[in-house]
Point group: C2
Chain length 334, copies 2
């Protein structure tokens, strides 16, 4: 049985995520879920759904850490919050092997690093979404926001972590690793990318060079390495541009609608395409580099999100991603 | 008469741009154009079009600086290149008031800084496109690639330059200036944005705080300040995502086409929307902070690009943008 902690209470929409968690129990017969949070609300909401109750355990936690709290302070003061209880279980219970949280990025990062702990040899855990690409695959963007200021060796470590993820989740043999840069040529970039490139070349990864941001979702790369500031800008501009373009196209088509047969078919087609740019349907962002896999889902995630997220965490546990990274780091003498 | 230098020879497609230059002479009766480059090719190509020859002058230049040359070396060695001849004229001829070049970013930057020279008080000129926004306006993204590593004071100077541009080109009274950041809250960001924010708050600009990348084209901001690495990633990811989304939508609509009345109408509508994301139709990127306005157009620019670009440079000259920046810097005691 694979034990996964699911914290829905730090998000905006716990009720929908509780239903999603019941769905996840039904979807994965080899998974057992622990839900930290308000036991009364959990019991009454879970009571509405059909699922195998022997595979869902409630871990009472009365507090919630909100989006606007200072993470380090909140972590220390709210010992009985769903996220602190969940992360503490992840740390102390050998059976608990991974966690999903709808909490704030800051709280997840802080609890992940200080409660669950870093893999030995990893300086800075990173946030990494797996983004869908144009050819139907995925690309791991690491870091997308955990570390706004990075040293070159962090980026080198990200290249190793990203490689392990793409191997363990998607079975890719030799993930193609690129560094996000302002040009394809070797001499392009800033001081950080120049120094990081030299270090990545010494790592046991399939480094293919620089990538310009317009190619991020081309499918030509499996792992995109950058500092958390650049990754966050890249991620959010993809999101914003996708919305703007699809809304622009829909509105233009509506203005010529009298001449178009079936506007609802067009709307549905556009919505289908946009689903690829919707992080709710694509899991979320991994916090990678901690001792157990942790997946952040969006605070406004919907009911579909939890089963998807449980499936992703389960694959990462089955592939022993953390063990793989540790082994590589040992080989490197870290 | 407004004298503008137009260098088409450093691009991939000089012949199309020569036609575009003849169109520009026709479009602006108060503009005189100087074209540095191969006089034989220029004469024979220009001979094909109708325009007022008294307002177009050829400046012989036999060499071309290519995209793959090291800019500083090429600038020193190719004194007879179209871009060096053009920039030298811009420097030495008081009547020449602005320049357009299809050359490489590196060559334009290098010649702009070392030949034309910086405005006193500006440490680093910056590249800045004026991007169309969702509500039909424009936003100035500064820097989008000139300075991969920036000090905080460069960003503060960019806020001043960007403000002048939006005032002079679009007549916006109090351009809203934001810093590109990873969150809206004040404490978000990296060391650079924190230090730059403190400096921008002291500048005579309408600073409205942080902007997340997903809002870049929302129309809520007039000037977006960032280092050249981040700006380049933002610009290229907008470009790449727009293409990916529109292609995805078109291909999805084609797959349901048997049920749609008029595919060609749909294709035309999508193309109309995408024109907003096409830098050929939107002028190009300004090199700002030099003693005269310089506009870089894409090396693969098309015939429409030149008249648009001439119109933009003309507005900036008429508004005396450079004089405005100098005056502000003097007030600040720089």
């Amino acid at each position: 049985m694979i034990k996964i902690v699911v914290d829905v209470f730090s998000g905006d929409n716990p009720v929908a995520l509780i239903k999603g968690t019941a769905d996840a129990v039904n979807a994965y017969p080899d998974v057992k879920i622990v839900m930290p949070g308000d036991p009364d609300l959990l019991s009454s909401e879970l009571g509405k759904y059909e699922f195998d109750r022997s595979r869902l355990e409630i871990l009472p936690a009365k507090e919630i850490i909100g989006n606007n709290e200072v993470p380090t302070t909140a972590m220390r003061q709210k010992k009985d919050s769903s996220i602190v209880r969940g992360m503490t279980l992840l740390k102390t219970d050998d059976e608990a092997q991974g966690m999903i949280s709808a909490g704030s990025t800051g709280a997840i990062l802080c609890c992940g690093i200080f409660i669950v702990g870093r893999i030995r040899g990893i300086d800075r855990p990173a946030l990494a979404p797996l983004l869908p690409t144009a050819n139907g695959g995925h690309v791991c963007l690491i870091d997308c926001g955990a570390n706004a200021d990075c040293r070159p060796q962090y980026l080198a470590q990200f290249s190793l972590i990203g490689t392990s993820v793409m191997k363990s989740v998607f079975g890719i043999e030799n993930p193609r690793v690129a560094i996000v840069n302002v040009g394809e040529e070797d001499h392009k970039g800033n001081t950080l990318t120049a120094e990081a490139t030299a270090l990545i070349k010494k790592m046991p990864v399939n480094f293919v060079g620089n990538m310009e941001a317009r190619e991020a979702l081309s499918g030509n790369f499996d792992v995109l390495v950058c500092d958390g500031f650049v990754g966050n800008v890249l991620l959010k501009s993809i999101e914003g541009t996708a919305r703007l373009v699809s809304e622009g196209i829909l509105s233009r088509l509506k203005s010529v609608a009298p001449d178009l047969a079936d506007m609802s078919l067009i709307e549905k087609s556009v919505a289908d395409v946009m689903e690829n740019f919707d992080y709710n349907s694509n899991g979320g962002a991994w916090l990678l580099g901690c001792n157990k896999p942790i997946l952040k889902i969006h605070g406004a995630a919907n009911v579909r999100t939890v089963p998807n997220a449980v499936g992703l965490v389960r694959s990462m546990i089955l592939a022993d991603m953390v063990g793989g990274i540790s082994a590589k780091l040992k080989e490197l003498g870290k």
